[in-house]
Symmetry: D2
Subunit: 341 residues, 4 copies
């Protein structure tokens, strides 16, 4: 059986495991006050070209989003996001559980357009009743988006500018950031991300770590007392060095990017094969997630050879499916899948 | 200057004031444990033909919505509502502040269609990832809606049915319920509302009371310990009898309905006059709120004689405005306004 | 039957009712944007000798505490309060419902000692694990306290100083502030309160108003966007002028203080009589609440003539009871009660 | 340098690491829907002799407490706990952040006495104003406590009984449960815990796992939709099998208990040595945490050879310190530390 359900079906990259094993019996202080974490922070600052940035390590994506957003917003504020944004759809209301509304913007293949942000803010403050409404207090974007699509450098510059003008922080969810950086279509470097975003995170869970997300705060005055907030959100790992060690490994010798390329290459090979077979793209993604519309009969047949996700409810005759590759996907897996098409 | 901004610009109906004055120096226990409140509860149960219903009195609409919804939902659940619903737009995130997501449905002139509820629930549970999403735990509707429109008996029966089938409570926001009941277009009696809704409230603030909303709970097992929740939400009035007294007065000799009719009659007179002048309806409302599209020049001219609300941001050449009448509006006010058109 | 349960058993002072009636049919904008509210604000600023203060009007005490505290604290902070503080005991968890912990200090007859605040802060930051704990972000005191006791000017100066030194706001719950100001034992003027506290409220519900609390913010930078927070907490009264009107009346011709004196005078008369009969003080209060230890047999006998509150659970042979007078209590009521002792 | 700061300074037990490595490249579904997790659940049910129990795996202790307590309580309820309870002191307000008050009981060396629970409940419902207060909705205890002390079987039976009588769930925080089970002083088996508690968790982080806590729900009707709540609390691990695998390993061949014994044995050896040197116990603990009062001079001297925690703020001449051993502590470490006394 082949598996393309998601990019967290395996454990960690072997090099990460090697480091965890090699240091396993060492004793270090907890909660990220260890030398591995300190070094990982430094490596990430270097990779981002952001020497002043603060770096925090959390365990998973939903908790990272909930903690950062809770830290950035005041009580009367909400977070702007695409209607398709992960925080609006697939986080079980974690943002609202912390008291904040998700204010939705149109999704353009998963992306937010700067003009929509602009329009929202203008209409909001143009309405005399705005003090009765939830103030848009920050912008959330994901890169790649939930549909695998990418912001161009120009698009992100525009988002940065509109946020600057209205003095709201820009936060980027980088759960799959590696797969953006590894895509040939990408025009947004890690330096750009650090330059344009006030806070963002670099996902580890989906790229070679057992778990872990690195939050980079380029304007640290926005998140004072963030350590306590991480604790309050239940997001503080006792053995914090496990996070440090993993990110230290991923940011040594460019491992993070190298292993991401494998995922993108195999995903694009699959995409070409599906297109060649005449299947229809649901969304045109240049990263490790591929969305296609397939006849239900083909889906059923393929399901005896491979697992993958039905995207949304099953349609009457055809449905949207998602194939995801990861750093661990081999070309042979793709060839085998193609053989079954 | 004439005022049509909203239906809470005056104090209370004179009869309400008379009763407040007459009983002013009496001493009664606080928090609604007084005979006036007990009597008001009984009168409301009779008016609703719901002898088993529990009745609670709160001060204002937003706090009522927030308290009831917080009581009805479990932590993992959210509330379904029209995108235009008051809880989604004009309550400063009170629902989210209590931890719950507002799950939006299309607004059909402010109304929710049963088929949209059905579709939402089917798609939700048809999506394998539903345990990662906020469960739709109840339905919120307003009657009249925020646009003054009305549900027909059939429409409400359909909403009741879909909620029953999926075992989610149906809650009706009746901030302006009187103006629905007083409209000739209305087909939904108070008995029907009580029969079809699990919880609803009868608005006092906008119909003759200084303040106050009467929450009717027809399935009291849904809101155990509601008194404590009212207190926790800061919605428990110390001098609870003020609420009891006002509703006792409103539900004696049909005062509630009688004074509402005046508002609807005057609103419809204004509507006809505006249509006769050739102005365009923004939404066709049979109740005390009238929404029209007016050229900005006419708006500016009219503004020197009357106040009314700009609905949303001002357009380039024309804008939407809202005229609201109340139980205190006189025909002479309408005639004067018409004279300025 | 005589009633000494609490100080909110009557309606409003007749002069307040007269003003409400006189203005009843006037039309004003909602939400506190009316001239009466503006004037009331000005009168309160004058009474406080705080020309720069912001004044907001809310409906009740619990909602005022919850809204102010929620506004003053950041998410990782809690509020210091005496163990006996109203927010810790009798607000149904409203503070926690908004996400904040109440950090308790010893209660000295209801009062907080500055040295206890100092010790708490020193021990807190002296403990290396403090970032894992809720940071003390403000101090809550009530004046008079829940036991009717009063802070001296020196005590409040000391609290002010410790708060200043540690840069945490000092908030004073003045639900019964009038009865402090009217007490001969009081050394803390309204000017002092405004000078020493960052935020406080002047209670109307218990002193002559139907309802209403006036929040005075002497350092307005501490509560930005407070209007929206009031709305979010369901604490924004649609007919805001009702609050303005009542406070305008209370702060005209010193009505607020004058009527409070009546309550204190009658309470002290009762106190003397109880002491003369040999009953034991539970706590020595110079204001309108009197706490005595009475044999259960006497309590039972008295209960057929008067209502009053059992303070805490009933003891085996004797229990604590509370007698409360109000602005509406007549000397004849006290004489009658004394006659039954 | 020797380290006795806490029991999470190392990675995982070598056998746990071996299993993680052996299965690293396998592909499994996420979120705990894998065969390792299923098997771990079964092993835990067997070890607890609780064939009907539901078992959930979360990442850390604070998040486990916050999620379980949030699931067990309704909005108007709080959680009873010893004043010294971890949830009251060291979780940065995570319980309050989810809206619930921690209702404190006296701490008897970290333990809650059943009679105090009984008294609290009786006084609570004996007070007529209870509907204005936070209802005690569950009881939280930790075993061992934060001071390393243990409940006897009789004490836990008594707690169980009082909770049963008042129909509130009993929840046991077992962050260090292994070190209780491994103590010769312990009279409470895992079967007893499962029989007497409605929910409890078996800590992995502090006993051989990299991270992870196993929540055992013996009355599953108390936590419906718990999966979604875990997700909402950011506590759902994407690669859920990592939790399953670790607990499967720990509950195979009694590893969990075997490695805990090592910690207790070494801790008790240290305790005897400290007592022999004449140092004073702060609290008498039979488990892996030892609390002693040491002269500051001795603390300073010892600090050049070993790390350990100052418990609370430093005193003037002497202070309380805590020494913690773990499954990884060797006798040689203890001998070396003793040599430095």
């Amino acid at each position: 059986m082949l598996h393309f359900d998601c990019d967290y079906m395996e454990g960690a990259h072997p090099e990460v495991m090697r480091r965890l094993l090699a240091t396993n019996l060492e004793q270090t202080p907890g909660y990220g006050c260890d030398p591995y974490t300190a070094h990982a922070r430094e490596l990430i600052r270097q990779a981002c070209d952001a020497p002043q940035a603060e770096v925090h390590f959390l365990v998973g994506g939903t908790q990272t989003n909930a903690t950062v957003i809770d830290g950035l917003l005041r009580r009367h504020e909400g977070v702007l996001a695409a209607e398709s944004g992960h925080i609006n759809v697939h986080e079980a209301g974690a943002i609202e559980a912390a008291g904040h509304k998700v204010l939705t913007l149109p999704s353009h293949d998963g992306k937010v357009h700067a003009c929509d942000v602009e329009r929202y803010l203008e209409e909001f403050y143009g309405d005399e009743t705005w003090p009765h409404m939830v103030a848009p207090g920050m912008l959330y974007v994901s890169h790649p988006t939930e549909f695998g699509t990418l912001y161009s450098l120009e698009e992100m510059e525009a988002l940065h500018e509109v946020c600057q003008q209205h003095a709201i922080p820009l936060y980027l969810d980088g759960a799959r950031l590696s797969y953006a950086l590894a895509s040939e279509s990408n025009t947004l470097t890690l330096h750009d991300v650090a330059r344009l975003c006030d806070v963002f995170y670099i996902g580890g869970t989906k790229t070679g770590a057992l778990f872990g997300e690195a939050v980079v705060v380029t304007r640290s005055e926005l998140l004072p007392h963030f350590f306590t907030l991480i604790k309050q959100h239940g997001a503080l790992l006792a053995k914090g060095r496990l996070l440090g060690l993993q990110f230290e490994t991923l940011f040594t010798d460019d491992l993070y990017l190298r292993i991401a390329r494998q995922a993108v290459t195999t995903a694009l090979k699959l995409k070409e094969a599906l297109l060649a077979k005449g299947y229809r793209l649901f969304i045109d993604s240049p990263t490790n997630q591929q969305f296609f519309v397939l006849p239900n009969s083909d889906i059923d047949r393929l399901s005896s050879h491979a697992t993958f996700e039905l995207w949304g409810p099953r349609g009457e005759t055809e449905s949207v499916v998602r194939f995801v590759t990861s750093w661990a996907t081999q070309e042979s897996h793709i060839d085998a899948l193609i053989g079954h098409l």
